[in-house]
């Protein structure tokens, strides 16, 4: 059995001239929840669809539970669960029909768990999908995924339309399954609070690549915001740390960095007295990379990971 639930190597997917994925490398070990962050069009949904075998990569490799994503044998396909964007059952299908459909594909499908999850949100299994509220629909889809007791869960914006209580219930259930069965999950979301709540690892994508990837705690510990009142970021910064983003805010030059084993004192000593270093939250880090990452790339090149 592969240690990694997902492994992609230089994965590429082009839609005409658009490079949705452009040499993406990613590893998701079993027993972890990876949250994918990135602006719209970063390639998150394309990645999940390739992993699910729905579309073909233009190049590179995608391995899911040890098998190539595109030629998943029945035994592998039934061990993956997916909740996706623009991926909804027919309006006339009832929750009971959907459970029967899912049970045919997933040997481990737990009907009792699905029934219990539906009951939790007062969903009548005989009610047609089209007659449910947006939140109920999303809950049914995520319940189907979780009741499959999969080894890999791919959730694309699962919380879209869910109220806070439902979101909490969903993520608690997901965390329980991952801890219990050594499953892995990839979740895309734009809700930073959810990321901080559920993630073991975080990957930030931009322009079809993973720009930053690591354990959440490690990112919290190693990422800093460096403000230089002098207005010019010294070139040696790129030697001390990976520069993730750069912006000019008023008269100050602000750089977001990931320290490469260098502590704050060392950075302060090397850059001089006009420098201030601050801890940053995940939201600031995300914005730094997605909004100001290209400026850093232009100045520091490979230093920006």
């Amino acid at each position: 059995m592969s240690d990694h639930a997902v492994r992609t190597i230089e994965l590429r997917r082009h839609f005409g001239a658009v490079r949705a994925l452009d040499g993406l490398n990613l590893e998701v070990p079993r027993g972890t929840i990876l949250t994918l962050l990135g602006p719209n069009g970063a390639g998150k949904t394309t990645l999940l669809r390739i992993l699910m075998g729905m579309i073909e990569p233009t190049g590179g490799q995608a391995l899911v539970l040890g098998a190539p994503a595109r030629s998943q044998p029945a035994g592998v396909a039934g061990r993956i669960a997916y909740v996706g964007d623009r991926c909804e059952p027919p309006q006339w299908a009832t929750a009971a029909m959907l459970a029967s459909l899912q049970a045919g594909a997933s040997r481990a499908f737990d009907k009792a768990l699905f029934g219990e999850l539906c009951k939790r949100r007062d969903i009548n299994p005989k009610r047609p999908y089209g007659a449910m509220s947006k939140g109920q629909r999303r809950w049914v889809l995520t319940s189907l995924a979780l009741a499959s007791r999969p080894e890999l869960v791919l959730l694309d914006e699962p919380a879209d339309g869910l109220d806070p209580a439902a979101r909490r219930g969903l993520y608690d259930e997901l965390r329980g399954q991952v801890n219990e069965s050594d499953a892995a999950a990839i979740v895309t979301t734009h809700i930073i609070a959810d990321v901080e709540r559920i993630s073991d690892d975080v990957a930030i994508m931009a322009a079809g690549r993973v720009v930053l990837h690591g354990p959440l705690e490690d990112l919290r510990e190693s990422v800093r915001q460096v403000e230089m009142s002098g207005g010019i970021s010294p070139p040696e910064l790129g030697e001390l740390a990976s520069v993730l983003g750069r912006a000019r805010l008023g008269s100050a030059d602000v750089v977001w960095i990931r320290r490469n084993g260098v502590d704050d004192e060392e950075i302060l000593r090397r850059l001089g007295p006009d420098v201030t270093i601050r801890n940053v939250g995940l939201e600031t880090l995300y914005l730094a990379i997605t909004e100001h990452g290209s400026a850093a790339l232009a100045e520091y090149g490979k230093g920006s990971e």
Binding site: E56, C87, Q102, G104, A105, P150
Partner: protein, 218 residues
């Protein structure tokens, strides 16, 4: 060996319902209303069969819709999905053919035309009993041909125009070859039968191969 899954079959069956109804109603109305003795040369049943097959391929192949993205992301292997598409198509064909067949076989048609004072009613039942078999033969060829063409069409990178040409070719061969085959006898008739079966098998396997690499883009 594919195991039939009730949940998947039920959803596909429902998707294919308009095609089934069109075929079933069309053939029943034809059987009840056609005033002359039915023969294998009548064009209407052929058109009804073709319409149903095209509708089946279109309704079971809406790969760009959210409903099919959902279906294709449940964890069924591509071969299992293809097997169920074929199974559902077969059930749809039976549901369209059986009522029409019963109308002919039970004598309902000849009795109705007796009431309508048709001069042909005494010879209808014995002469027409085998005609639905011709329709079945058409279905067996056209169902995989239409599915193949539809899947081929849905693959923009694999020569989408080739799918339409397949159906045109199959139809042309049917129209041109039908009279010829009917007059043949002996080993050549058997050879034509074997070729027919070969074409059907190739279309089913070719469709399955294309279906494996099909992209589902909702």
């Amino acid at each position: 060996m594919m195991i039939a899954r009730w949940g998947l079959t039920r959803i596909l069956w429902r998707q294919a319902m308009p095609a089934t109804l069109a075929g079933s109603l069309g053939l029943c109305v034809y059987c009840l209303a056609w005033p002359d003795v039915m023969t294998s040369r009548d064009p209407w049943p052929g058109l009804i069969v073709l319409l149903q097959c095209v509708l089946l391929a279109a309704l079971l192949g809406r790969f760009e819709t959210p409903a099919f993205a959902f279906l294709y992301s449940r964890g069924y292997s591509r071969d299992a999905l293809w097997g169920h598409v074929m199974l559902t198509s077969g059930l749809s064909v039976l549901a369209a053919l059986m009522p029409a067949w019963l109308i002919v076989w039970t004598g309902l048609r000849s009795r109705l035309h007796d009431l309508l004072e048709s001069p042909y009613f005494p010879i209808m039942a014995p002469r027409e009993a085998w005609v639905p078999l011709i329709w079945l033969g058409l279905y067996v060829l056209l169902v995989p041909a239409c599915h193949y063409a539809w899947i081929r069409r849905a693959q923009p990178t694999r020569g989408s125009q080739g799918g339409g040409l397949t159906v045109v070719g199959v139809l042309a061969a049917l129209l041109l070859g039908f009279d010829l085959v009917r007059r043949l006898d002996g080993w050549f008739a058997w050879l034509c039968g074997v070729l027919y079966a070969g074409v059907v098998v190739c279309l089913v396997l070719g469709g399955r191969a294309l279906h494996r690499s099909l992209e589902v883009r909702a």
